[in-house]
């Protein structure tokens, strides 16, 4: 009887542990499957033309060069707006709101914004910019992406600044430095790795965002560098081409998907490696 219970408990344990291993294997397998799909299907459209030629009409040769450039421009604008704002708000949370109720509320709202559906933020920017200026524009797209990047940067900046030991602040302040100088010259330098991580993670997050761009930046078939006009960008072009009946467009969509995925994954890995090194240093 006792032996039976022992065996039953052992069996249950072994079963649970095997299922856990199975779950992890399943997760990794799906990751591998998705990567393999984008690679194998995108390969046929992979050539130099992908990066040098603009989006073609159906069944014509061409590439995604204008979309790549457009995406880069929109994302850079978004980061240029979102990152300084995010770093500032994160600084306020970590350095100026200590223990205050308001700080807790802002942190909470930021967390909500962090996981809010991106399409909702896109609709907000649509109402704010597109509906008032009367047309889709790359700038509106950048603003929507900036709103998505903002909470990521706020969160990491806040976390990283709070990791900086209090002695560092006290030592600098006791030398007679004003607080803003302490923040800019000492705390930022010390938390630099973490803040850069936040910006990289934000960039990774926004570079694949499609939904909010559908009704802000929209897209364009041509080379266009005017931020007040619709601009070609990789996610929306992928969306339009993947849903099209033309094989050449579908192949281009997969090639774009592969480049995009690779870019996002590399950014994510780089960000996490910096973060990992930072954590170890602080421990």
């Amino acid at each position: 009887m006792n032996m039976g219970l022992q065996r039953y408990r052992g069996f249950k344990n072994a079963l649970a542990m095997s299922l856990a291993v199975l779950a992890a294997v399943l997760g990794l397998a799906v990751l591998g499957w998705i990567l393999w799909t984008t690679l194998s299907r995108g390969l046929s459209a992979f050539s130099l033309a992908l990066f040098t030629e603009a989006t073609p009409p159906p069944e014509m040769p061409g590439g995604l060069a204008n979309a790549f450039v457009g995406s880069a421009l929109i994302c850079l604008m978004a980061i240029a707006i979102g990152a300084p704002l995010g770093i500032a708000a994160g600084t306020w949370l970590a350095e100026y709101s200590r223990g205050s109720r308001l700080g807790e509320v802002v942190r909470f709202v930021n967390d909500i914004l962090l996981s809010a559906p991106s399409i909702v933020l896109g609709l907000f920017v649509y109402a704010l910019v597109v509906a008032t200026t009367g047309g889709f524009s790359a700038f509106a797209g950048a603003l929507a992406l900036a709103l998505i990047a903002l909470p990521v940067v706020v969160r990491t900046t806040d976390d990283m600044l709070r990791l900086v030991p209090a002695q560092m602040r006290e030592a600098a302040l006791s030398l007679g430095l004003p607080q803003w100088k302490v923040t800019v010259q000492i705390l930022y330098r010390s938390a630099m790795g973490g803040i850069v991580t936040g910006v990289l993670l934000a960039l990774a997050r926004i570079s694949g965002e499609t939904a909010p761009l559908l009704f802000t930046a929209f897209s364009s078939q041509y080379w266009n560098f005017d931020p007040t006009q619709p601009m070609a960008n990789v996610p929306v072009v992928i969306f339009q081409y993947a849903a099209s009946p033309y094989e050449s467009w579908q192949a281009l969509a997969w090639a774009g998907a592969f480049v995009l995925t690779l870019f996002v994954l590399l950014l994510g890995i780089a960000a996490r490696l910096i973060l990992l090194r930072n954590r170890i240093q602080h421990d």
């Binding site: 704002l85 559906p117 909702v120």
Partner: protein, 323 residues
């Protein structure tokens, strides 16, 4: 720690310093205010944009199951039901798998394996959702339509009560496919939250259970899970929030049909995919207003879910701090 030190400074540079200090603090606070404004503005703009639809249809906007831009009749019920159904399917599949992965990463895997596997799972969360959509449409849907759904239709479709859920043409695209793709997208989120939450359990608790002769499973089920219950549920809610608001992946595989079918194999639509599909082309102001109203509904649903999730996760952090 922040303000009183100004008094120690020497007068002249101190005066300038304190003026700069005030300006700097103000700038930082202004940035924080923008975070608040972004969320409030998003809610307000959709409520304002959707007012025409709310006024025209009243409660029928939420209970009507007809969505016909031609006839200018807009009822959100099918889209709301599609959103809730797909998210529910996603959770039913994703929660056990996430739990298994978190278990693997905290208790089963040898330490050298934990960081790389954990990182790989987290990378899964970083893949743009449009990629999931394409994978779902071109790879998963044909596979399901050819091999899995006919079998489901024949076997599960004959079951009493739940049978109708699995009856339907094996198209491959539909609510069940959307739920499956969402499950894949939700797993990395819930798994990483669960992992972090499990790591907060004091090791002396686990050690004493092991000392009493508990198996690893018993330690996890009887010690770790009860200790972290609130936060684990918070993590699940976080995944739910993600599933409810996910747009591109669902748009690709759900079929975008305003049908009132109960079958999970039939095409349907969700709030987010309806907006993504129709918004750029909606010229009729009432149509546009109805889509913004849909957006407001989506915002409300996800807001409630996310607030609940954050509150539960926060509770654990507080306890961890006091312990």
């Amino acid at each position: 720690m922040s303000t009183p030190l100004a008094a120690v400074e020497s007068p002249a540079p101190g005066l300038r310093g304190s003026r700069m200090d005030r300006a700097f603090a103000l700038a930082m606070a202004a940035a924080a205010a923008i975070v608040m404004l972004a969320l409030a503005g998003a809610a307000a703009s959709m409520l304002w944009g959707g007012r025409e639809a709310f006024e025209t249809f009243g409660w029928a906007f939420f209970t009507g199951d007809t969505w016909d831009p031609g006839a200018r009749i807009f009822g959100a019920l099918v889209a709301i039901a599609g959103t809730l159904t797909t998210a529910a399917i996603a959770l039913v599949i994703a929660v056990p798998i996430s739990f298994g992965i978190a278990l693997f990463l905290t208790e089963v895997a040898p330490p050298w394996l934990r960081t790389p596997v954990g990182m790989a799972i987290e990378l899964l969360a970083g893949i743009p959702s449009i990629i999931y959509g394409m994978w779902g449409l071109f790879v998963l849907a044909p596979l399901l339509g050819e091999h899995v759904y006919p079998w489901l239709n024949d076997h599960a479709g004959a079951l009493p009560w739940i049978g109708t859920l699995f009856q339907g043409p094996p198209l491959g695209i539909g609510k069940l496919t959307a739920g499956l793709v969402l499950a894949v997208m939700v797993v990395p989120f819930t798994a990483s939250v669960m992992r972090e939450v499990f790591l907060t359990v004091p090791s002396r608790l686990k050690e004493s259970a092991y000392a009493l002769g508990c198996t690893r499973w018993e330690v996890v089920w009887d010690i770790v899970l009860p200790y972290t219950r609130g936060a684990v549920i918070g993590g699940i809610f976080l995944g739910l929030g993600r599933a409810l608001g996910e747009t591109m992946a669902v748009t690709f595989v759900i079929g975008n049909a305003y049908s009132v079918s109960v079958s999970l194999l039939d095409p349907g639509t969700s709030i987010a995919s309806a907006i993504a599909n129709e918004f750029a082309e909606a010229i009729d102001p009432l149509h546009r207003s109805s889509l913004l109203g849909l957006g407001f509904v989506l915002f409300l649903i996800t807001f409630v879910v996310l607030v609940a999730s954050r509150l539960m996760l926060r509770q654990l952090r507080r306890r961890e701090g006091s312990a």
